[in-house]
Symmetry: C2
Subunit: 327 residues, 2 copies
């Protein structure tokens, strides 16, 4: 059994994952926001014990653990340099701390990479070797698989697709750039754009919710757009356009067999996938290829593992690293 | 000895390259534009014979050949699907035709990839494992090296950085897209923008040249900008801004140790590199990393091999493929 952990700013998902990707047991815990890394590690360790107890498993059955975490990270050193949604976490040696507490070897992976590896290993990318995954959560995470391996890059911070600039001098991003993809297609960005438009006087069925003091979230925007709310439809369509530009760029740069869209917003299904594919075809190349029959457009597909992708993928990365040692 | 060939729309560069990257002998031939692939192959074969004669070399000393060609290509099948600057070339099995004529194994590589591999193997990227190269020629070629290997992608058409969309709904590109990087930073694009501005009434020292019936080229724009011509300076600065956006995106996607700028426009040296580095810093991220000491900005450097990069790189790819067989 391999422990898979998806460390998030709100929740941490923990599972026991078999060599083939099957989840034997899992739990979803609130991430403690006080007590720093120690408190989080304690929650993880106790949850693993409960999961093992619940399935009459022994600690000896556990080969190791993989943890997906927000970055920037040093994968090789096992350090979280900073995590925007985990206040006070600066240069935390999460891998070694967790390994000491769990008594097994631990692998640290970027959360976007872990989710991508999960889909590659046990989900939408199972039958291929090259794919890119975008996780449309609050922000936009991503991971790139080349020839069966996660791309890490020289600084171990590759595949930050959410911070690809898609609009020159566009909306400011907390990362310090302008026009990042994440500012246009993440759930938070989509929701904030609708809120701002309502405050600026645009009509929407979500107006009442905002005036009642509630924040609008990505899911509400999708629901309202599906019901024909013009403002939400406009914001959604624009998000799909930017996502299509991102897909065209990913096609030209990585030339993957498929691009997998996951995360909360991707649960919109064909309401997301269809307009993205349409816009990708409209915005992508082709006339110069006429007559040659050459076509390098990737399949654009919905993810299959839902919220478990990161947890399963973290375990999958750990299986790839520690599995042989065990066998 | 390995034969290195850089097949271009105007000239074809042919060289005999030693295992360490040293060019033993070389020639630059006009690419025949009539007679199709057969005429080109004939010129290549004759030139190789002349080069061998000139250095008292025997055909037996030739291990194989690498040819870099414009795409799209099928590398695995050795086919040029289409080449915009080689009229009538559709689905040409260049590798096998050339191999039959030369009597040695031949490797086909994309021209941008070949130039990148040349710089990686014997130029600016010699001491690293991960780099991206942009060749700022008439258009924008590129190649990506990950862990010492060229990135090809599932469809063997990766690293088409020139067709990364950097301006939503921007200038139309012959490829069918809008806002491609190549439309803003290639030598042809820069020259056409200056020409158009002059026709629209802008003042420039290059006005007379245009009115005399000559086309303006990228080199002339660089020279005029260096001498303070306001129009050329504006166009050049804008090209540098778009190039910086491309560099920021390449940083986030591939996370290379270095980005190497080559091709004709890169001969502008610090007049190109300095403003690109400045704009990359200004447009790139950093505030979110404060306190952690994390920095993943690649070095941005000028290429070292000049116009020989593609030829040397084609030979380098062939050495990597056929060298062991020979040893």
């Amino acid at each position: 059994m391999m422990i898979g952990i998806d460390l998030g700013g709100t929740n941490t998902k923990i599972g026991l994952v078999r060599p083939g990707g099957e989840v034997a047991s899992k739990a979803n815990c609130a991430t403690p926001l006080v007590g720093g890394a120690e408190a989080v590690i304690e929650v993880i360790a106790r949850t693993v014990e409960e999961l093992l107890l619940g399935m009459d498993g022994s600690r000896r059955a556990v080969v190791g653990a993989g943890i997906g975490a927000p970055g920037p990270l040093s994968l090789d050193k096992g350090i979280i340099h900073q995590a925007v949604n985990l206040p006070g976490w600066t240069n935390v040696a999460i891998r070694d701390l967790l390994s000491d507490r769990l008594g097994v070897p631990v692998l640290l992976e970027n959360d976007g990479n872990a989710a991508a590896y999960g889909e590659f290993w046990a989900g939408a990318g199972k039958d291929g070797k090259d794919m890119v995954m975008l996780t449309l959560g609050t922000g936009v995470g991503a991971g790139v698989i080349i020839n069966g391996q996660l791309l890490h890059g020289h600084f171990e911070n590759a595949a930050e697709v959410g911070h690809m600039i898609v609009e020159r001098d566009g909306l400011p991003c907390p990362c310090g750039q302008r026009g990042c993809l994440e500012r246009y297609v993440g759930a938070a960005a989509v929701a904030r754009r609708v809120e701002q438009a309502i405050r600026d006087g645009a009509l929407s069925v979500l107006e009442e919710r905002l005036h009642d003091g509630y924040r609008i979230d990505g899911k509400a925007v999708v629901e309202a757009a599906k019901q024909g709310d013009q403002l939400c439809l406009d914001v959604w369509r624009e998000a799909c356009e930017y996502l299509a530009i991102a897909c065209v760029n990913l096609q030209h740069l990585f030339n993957p067999a498929r691009i997998v869209l996951g995360g909360g917003l991707a649960q919109a299904g064909s309401f997301l996938i269809d307009p993205v594919i349409e816009a990708t075809r409209r915005r992508g190349w082709s006339p110069c290829m006429s007559g040659s029959g050459f076509d390098d457009a990737p399949e654009i597909q919905q993810a299959q593992l839902g919220y478990q992708a990161g947890m399963i993928g973290a375990a999958g990365c750990a299986w790839a690293r520690f599995g042989e040692r065990h066998a």
